[in-house]
C-alpha cells in the first residue's frame, strides 16, 4: 500500500467492524496490526492507567470519608500578581502549557511520517521544553504549598489531613511521568536529528514517543478535573 493509504485503510478497519475484530483475534497470527513497539506502548499505558486510577480512587475514598472539611483548591492554589489573588491561575497556566506541548508533539509525529527530520526534531525539542517548564512550575507550586501554606503529607492548617498526602502522591507521580517524558523525548529527538532513522525511513518511534506524551497530558486532564476543580 502507498503512503496515502491510511485514510482508506481506516475506512476498511471501521467497516469491517466486529467481523474484522473476530478475524484479528482468531486468525492464529499477530492480533494487533501495528508495529510491536506501538502495541507494547499501548499495553504499558493501559497498566499506567490502572495505577493512576488507583491513586485517584483512593483520593476519592479519603475525601469522602473524612469528617473534616476538604481545603478549597480554588483558594489554596490561588496566586496573586500584586492585586487580588486569582483562583487556580497557576494550575490553569500549567494546563495550557501541557496542552500546547501535546499539540507540538502531534505535529512532530506528522512531520516524522513526512520524513522531515529537522522539523520533527525541532518540534520534539519544543515539546520537551514545554514539559520541563511544566515540571518547573510544579516545583514552584510544591515549594509554595510546603513553605508558605504549611501543607504536609500528614496535615495542613486548612482542613482535612488527607489533602496533603493525596496531593503529593498524585501530582508527584504525574510530575515524575512528565520528567521521564522530557528525557525520553530528548533522547528520541537527538536520534532523529542525527539521522538514525534515515536509512529505514521508519519514523514509527516518534509516534510511540508521542503516545506516551499524550498519555501524560491525558492523565493531567483527569487530575485537573478531580483534584483541582472538584
Amino acid at each position: 500500500m502507498g503512503s496515502n493509504s491510511s485514510e482508506s485503510g481506516a475506512t476498511v478497519a471501521l467497516s469491517e467492524g466486529l467481523q474484522g475484530f473476530t478475524r484479528d483475534w482468531s486468525a492464529d497470527k499477530q492480533t494487533f496490526q501495528v508495529p510491536w513497539g506501538k502495541a507494547m506502548m499501548w499495553i504499558f499505558l493501559l497498566s499506567d492507567t490502572f495505577i493512576f486510577a488507583c491513586f485517584l480512587t483512593s483520593y476519592m475514598n479519603v475525601r469522602m470519608s473524612t469528617r473534616v472539611p476538604w481545603p478549597n483548591p480554588s483558594e489554596v492554589f490561588a496566586l496573586s500578581f500584586g492585586g487580588e489573588p486569582i483562583p487556580l491561575i497557576l494550575i490553569a497556566i500549567m494546563t495550557f502549557i501541557l496542552i500546547t506541548s501535546s499539540g507540538t508533539m502531534a505535529l512532530a509525529v506528522n512531520y516524522g511520517y513526512r520524513q522531515d527530520r529537522a522539523k520533527t526534531a525541532a518540534l520534539m525539542f519544543i515539546t520537551a521544553a514545554f514539559g520541563a517548564t511544566f515540571v518547573g512550575m510544579q516545583a514552584f507550586e510544591w515549594m509554595k504549598l510546603i513553605a508558605e501554606e504549611g501543607v504536609r503529607p500528614w496535615g495542613n492548617p486548612m482542613g482535612a489531613a488527607q489533602f496533603g498526602s493525596s496531593f503529593f502522591m498524585i501530582t508527584g507521580f504525574h510530575g515524575a511521568h512528565v520528567s521521564i517524558g522530557v528525557i525520553y523525548l530528548s533522547v528520541v529527538a537527538l536520534k532523529v536529528l542525527k539521522g538514525d532513522y534515515e536509512a529505514s525511513g521508519n519514523y514509527e518511534i516518534v509516534e510511540i514517543t508521542g503516545l506516551y506524551w499524550h498519555f501524560v497530558d491525558l492523565v493531567w486532564v483527569f487530575i485537573f478535573a478531580f483534584f483541582y476543580l472538584w
Binding site: E7, G20, L46, A53, N61, T66, L211, F222
Partner: protein, 119 residues
Amino acid sequence: MTAEGHQEHPLSIYLWIWLLLFVLSTLSYLVDYIGFEGYLRWSLILIFMFAKAGFIIAIFMHMAWERIALIYAILGPPVLLLFLIGLMAVEGDHTLLTRINFFGETNFVAQEHVTEEGH
C-alpha cells in the same frame, strides 16, 4: 512495517483539535472562576473532562484510526475501574457514617489561611 500502523493525516485536523482543547480547557477553568456549585459544577467538569480526554485519545493518539481489535483491548479493561470506584464510594460513605457515629461531627477549626494577602 504494515501500512495499517502508518498514521498520516492532514495537518489541519491536528490544528483544529488543538484549538478545541484550548477552548475546552478555558471553559473548565471558567467553571471554577465563575464559581458554579453543586451538580451544575460537577456535571460541567465531567463533560469538559471527557470531551478533552476523548479528543486526545481519538485524534492525538490516533485511536479513531486503529482497528477494533486494538481499540477494545485498550479501552475495554478500564471499564472494570467503574467497579472499583463504585465499591470505594460505598466504603467511603460507610467510613464517614461510622466516624460521625463514634466521634461526632467535626471539631476542626481552620487556622488563619496564610497567603500573601492574608486572605
